[in-house]
């Protein structure tokens, strides 16, 4: 989706953007984010408001400088040098130093990478060639912040967190079963000290824990400006006058097996399950063409070679394999229990579809609801069943980084790390697929809808929302009085 603004319209300062997100709470400390988790996305989107990265990637594949203005590397791509932008200040007015960058990045960088301050910049030394370091730093949790140790880290981004409030919300009928939850509300106001200039918006109010259906209703009723939607609500939103955005497939739904599947019969069973699933129908029919069949871990948009993996259903072969599995293996005679996150309706739907498809091959799968903790957390300590339907988020632009986090979550340690080169990475991914600890099913994009008065919103296909460049068309009394040429009314000292 391209820029929303009409070419001739000039940006207006002022206004409060009201955003509604599905995640129930926000964590604004990147160190505490878990790679691959569903909350990562919302945390990242909020962190973008407060923090900057060294660089970003635009929609045309070009790295744009942020806090780093220049970068270079040696021939082996093991040592990278970044020149820091001068004159950058944190929201409290203190200057950004190389030490801050080092302190922030060292806690985030993968093992084998060391960051040091060099005059006017930083250097990152990697034990192995890091040809994708720019992709790594331009995505994921690699924000530059200063942790004072007294709560919220400070950032250099366009907004400052002004307040966090919580209020009780009535339990929703879908999602958490009857449990009362707190609604978290965050308010971000513009940062006057931002090196990139103050944003057009006066503030952004974010309401957490809003179910997609409610977000859609709020958008239609004018109570929200930007709302995060789901597969079915996105379809509905497309039939309204709202502007809808669909990202590239960012969440992989996969079947994760407990146990390493070493016995041959288990391997056969898993292969049979994989062959019995009609991923195309799942994506096309069940998910109403909003998803993509996933035959590999990395999506096509991230690896470029996902089409090489066969995702076709082969029911005959599946039945043949099933015939060779002894009844003692769960899934053959006794049902194979698949744990599903009780809070995620989509997971449940996909798991049920897998069960239906598997039944056509003579395999018995039974969905079991897990507790309130997210089943998408691939580092969960214990599964309740023999398999788990997990939702894995692609949280990096580096294909290698994504594969490594998937591998660690599937408890398969990379023999010598995931290679950077595409050939070798493809072979590595193919081997990991053959291990069948993780069976990819479908990849689902993010969905959002915006009100017509939201302008200049150009999110990236990989899910960055980039709210800093957004402006609101004024004139809505419900949003306070606004004058197109007036200065912001709600400016407050940091």
């Amino acid at each position: 989706m391209g820029p929303v603004a009409a070419a001739a319209a000039r940006p207006q300062y002022g206004g409060v953007l009201r955003v509604e997100l599905r995640a129930t709470s926000a964590n604004l400390n990147p160190v505490k984010w878990k790679a691959g988790s569903a909350d990562f996305a919302s945390n990242e989107r909020l962190a973008e408001l407060l923090f900057d990265r060294l660089l970003t990637l635009d929609n045309h594949g070009r790295f744009q400088p942020q806090l780093a203005t220049e970068w270079s590397h040696d021939a082996a791509a093991k040592r990278w040098q970044f020149t820091l932008r001068s004159g950058v200040k944190f929201s409290d007015g203190t200057a950004l130093t190389a030490g801050d960058v080092v302190a922030a990045l060292q806690t985030l960088l993968p093992r084998g990478m060391q960051v040091t301050a060099t005059g006017g910049g930083i250097a990152i030394q990697s034990a192995t060639p890091a040809g994708d370091l720019l992709e790594l730093l331009a995505s994921g949790p690699y924000f530059i912040y200063r942790d004072n140790g007294s709560g919220l880290p400070r950032g250099t981004g366009p907004f400052v967190l002004e307040s966090v409030s919580a209020s009780a919300r009535e339990p929703e009928k879908t999602g958490a079963e009857g449990t009362a939850s707190q609604t978290q509300r965050l308010r971000f106001r513009f940062n006057d000290n931002c090196w990139n200039g103050r944003p057009y918006l006066d503030a952004i109010e974010v309401t957490m824990g809003v179910p997609p259906l409610k977000a859609l209703l709020d958008l239609q009723l004018g109570k929200a400006d930007l709302g995060e939607l789901s597969v079915d609500t996105a379809k509905r939103a497309q039939q309204t006058s709202l502007k809808c955005w669909t990202s590239a497939p960012l969440t992989l739904f996969a079947l994760k097996f407990s146990g390493d599947g070493k016995p041959e019969q288990e391997q056969r069973l898993r292969e049979a399950i994989s062959l019995s699933v009609d991923r195309e129908a799942m994506a096309r029919v069940l998910l109403q063409k909003q998803a993509q069949a996933a035959g590999s871990f990395l999506p096509q948009w991230l690896s470029g070679y996902a089409f090489l993996f066969d995702a076709e259903r082969n029911l005959e072969r599946a039945k043949e394999l099933r015939g060779k599995v002894p009844p003692s293996i769960a899934g053959a005679a006794l049902p194979l229990r698949v744990t599903v996150d009780v809070n995620n309706e989509l997971s449940k739907l996909i798991a049920e579809r897998v069960a239906v498809d598997a039944r056509a091959a003579g395999l018995t799968l039974q969905t079991v609801r897990a507790g309130a903790r997210t089943a998408s957390d691939i580092t969960a300590s214990k599964s309740e069943g023999e398999a788990q339907l997990v939702a894995l988020r692609y949280t990096s632009l580096s294909a290698r980084d994504v594969l490594e986090s998937l591998a660690s979550g599937a408890r398969r340690q990379a023999e010598a790390g995931v290679p950077v080169e595409a050939d070798a990475r493809y072979a590595w991914e193919k081997r990991m697929m053959e291990g069948r600890t993780l069976l990819p099913l479908v990849a689902v994009p993010d969905f959002a809808a915006v009100d017509g008065r939201v302008r200049n919103w150009s999110p990236s296909p990989w899910g960055e929302w980039r709210l800093a460049d957004v402006w609101l068309e004024q004139g809505d009394p419900s949003n306070g009085s606004r004058d197109a040429a007036s200065k912001p009314l709600l400016g407050a000292k940091p």
């Binding site: 379809k235 029919v285 069940l286 998910l287």
Partner: protein, 624 residues
């Protein structure tokens, strides 16, 4: 058993029989009435269920009609008739339609059977529902029970199917409501009745206790329904069974099972109407308790009445019995003092009169018998004495005549006459001794005796006679039971008695014969039988046999059998005779084992081994 006891038992039996009969009748009719009422209530509840089910069918059909006729559904149906329709557009619509119309299940199926939207199982979208395409037009059809597959379970639904009428190619709307405990909650069951549902959801797996549901939730001990359900599965049809939940009979419950069939006659579940039998059991128990109480009370009353009545009746009878025993013991002047004009008073008066009469008659009889006995004795004496006296007289006369003879002739006659005189005097002496002996037969001296030995000893004496040359042979046969218990007896007296019997038998068999001795054990003692094969006795002879001095022989005192009878009588035994004229006579004696007040003492080893010197009695007996 005493009369009191008999009366008490009779009264008791009467009371128990009456109480039992009444109790049985009451419980029987109570049970019948209860069963009838129970059947009516059950039928009413079943009818209520049927009615609710019919109502629910109509409601479901109506809602499905509404969904089918909705604009949204029509649009969906029209879209699906176009070439390459986008089936993914409507994946979520069934869920909304179900919620809007208060249904639990909703599915949309296109002409080829492909499911394009499902409220209850969205994951099955794209798969085929071939059963629905078997009927082209479902409109107007009734709702029916159907097994519905859900992701983690199988449910039973009241389902209606409708075909969208406005499109060329069939478009099916399938809607339904789940049949579960909520439906049961809509039934109002009278007290003591409950309705359960068993949803036989997977007939291949047999009985599943969790499939039994009630309006209040889980059913305890559901596994007890297994046999009933198994029978239903084998042969679907109304069924009645009683289940007792605990050891207490009051916990029993009678279940009427009504099978719930699907459209194709498959068994999908059963309605179980349970009727508690607690009331009946309690009532029955109550009646039984009451009956038991009544019986116990009646027993007590009966006991009292019996004691009182029997006291009034049995006391006089006991007095009468006591009086009779006194009379039997020889106290002929016993009188019973009983007042009253009733039967017992009359009986006492009659008894007293009887004893008085008997006493007078006895005295007269005694007098008469004494006179008769004196006459008999005089006659016998005269007869006995005459015999020796006549020869005495002849001899003396001979001696008087012989005085005229010469000395030598007189001496010969004198010697012969004196010998005769001496013999006859000895005979007279013997007769006198015998009478004397009889008059003063000593009382028995009891000791433990072996009766077989006594018999053998008594008979041994006569052995030489049995085989004397020139005389008829007497054959003796012994049937003496070995191991007979010793009895209290006087061995000498018994010996004498048996000798007398042998003598009597010898006298009865002048031409020889067989003398048989038989001993057996009786309950109270021993029985001895002495049989001969003589000429037998007439009835008159039988009756007077034991009368002293009665004899059928030309000679003899007639005391032998009297002595026998006296000895037997002293031993508190009995003697009887059986005889048939021309065939022989059998004397049967029964002797008790014990005599009162006798210390156990074994008799002398062998009366038979006594030295040959006979006692006086034996001598007297030998001479008879």
């Amino acid at each position: 058993m005493s009369f009191r006891t008999k009366l008490f038992l009779l009264f008791l039996a009467t009371v128990l029989a009456s109480v039992s009969a009444v109790t049985y009748s009451v419980t029987h009719y109570t049970r019948a009435a209860y069963e009838e009422t129970d059947a009516q209530r059950t039928a009413a509840l079943v009818a209520q269920f049927q009615k609710e089910l019919a109502h629910e069918r109509e409601s479901v059909a109506r809602q499905v009609d509404n969904v089918t006729n909705a604009d949204v559904t029509l649009k969906m149906a029209i879209d699906q008739t176009k070439p390459d329709p986008d089936q993914s557009l409507y994946v979520r619509d069934a869920s909304g339609a179900a919620q809007e119309h208060g249904l639990d299940f909703m599915e949309f199926v296109i002409a080829d059977g492909t499911l394009i939207s499902s409220a209850e199982y969205p994951a099955r979208v794209g798969y085929k529902e071939t059963w629905v395409t078997s009927v082209k037009d479902w409109n107007g059809s009734e709702a029916f029970l159907r097994r519905v597959e859900l992701p983690n379970e199988v449910a039973v639904s009241l389902t209606a199917v409708r075909t969208q009428p406005n499109v060329a190619r069939p478009f099916y709307t399938i809607g339904g409501r789940r049949l579960n405990e909520n439906f049961l909650a809509s039934l109002v069951a009278p007290a003591g009745l409950r309705a359960l549902l068993y949803l036989n959801l997977d007939s291949g797996s047999g009985f599943v206790p969790e499939d039994v549901m009630s309006s209040t939730g889980k059913v305890e001990q559901a596994e007890r329904f297994a046999p009933m359900v198994a029978q239903l599965q084998k042969q679907p049809g109304p069924l009645i069974q009683t289940i007792q939940w605990t050891n207490d009979a009051a916990s029993a419950e009678t279940f009427h099972a009504l099978p719930l069939m699907g459209r194709n006659g498959e068994l999908l579940g059963a309605l179980l109407v349970g009727s508690s039998r607690a009331d009946l059991v309690h009532l029955t128990r109550h009646v039984m308790k009451l009956a038991a109480a009544v019986a116990a009370a009646a027993m007590l009353i009966g006991l009292f009445l019996t004691w009182w009545v029997s006291a009034r009746i049995t006391r006089p009878i006991e007095e009468l019995a006591e009086g009779a025993r006194e009379v039997a013991a020889g106290h002929w002047h016993t009188r019973i003092d009983l007042d009253g004009q009733d039967e017992t008073g009359q009986l006492a008066a009659a008894f007293n009169h009887m004893t008085q009469t008997l006493s007078a008659q006895r005295e007269r009889l005694v007098q008469t018998e004494r006179v008769a006995a004196w006459r008999e004795l005089a006659r016998r004496l005269a007869h006995e004495l005459r015999n020796p006296l006549f020869p005495l007289q002849i001899t003396v006369e001979n001696m008087q005549r012989a005085r005229q003879l010469g000395p030598e002739q007189f001496l010969e006659v004198f010697n012969e006459s004196t010998a005769t005189l001496k013999a006859e005097l000895a005979n007279l002496n013997s007769i006198v001794n015998r009478f004397s002996d009889f008059s003063k037969m000593p009382p028995p001296e009891f000791s433990r005796v072996e009766i077989n030995e006594v018999i053998r000893g008594a008979v041994r004496l006569f052995e030489p006679q049995f085989h004397e040359v020139g005389k008829p042979t007497i054959t003796t046969e012994y049937f003496l039971k070995e191991g007979l218990p010793e009895i209290d007896g006087d061995p000498e007296l018994l010996h004498k008695a048996f000798q007398n019997l042998v003598l009597n038998a010898l006298d009865a068999m002048p031409a020889g014969g067989t003398l048989t001795f038989r001993t057996t054990e009786t309950q109270s003692g021993v029985r001895v039988e002495v049989s001969d094969t003589g000429k037998g006795l007439t009835p008159e002879e039988c009756s007077r046999l034991f009368t002293p001095y009665y004899t059928t022989k030309q000679q003899g005192t007639g005391l032998g059998l009297a002595i026998v009878q006296s000895v037997i009588s002293d031993h508190r035994g009995t003697i009887s005779v059986a005889s048939e004229e021309g065939h022989g006579t059998t004397f049967r004696m029964e002797l008790p084992r014990r005599q009162p007040g006798v210390a156990a003492k074994k008799a002398q080893a062998a009366v038979a081994e006594r030295p040959p010197a006979q006692t006086k009695a034996e001598t007297a007996a030998a001479n008879d």
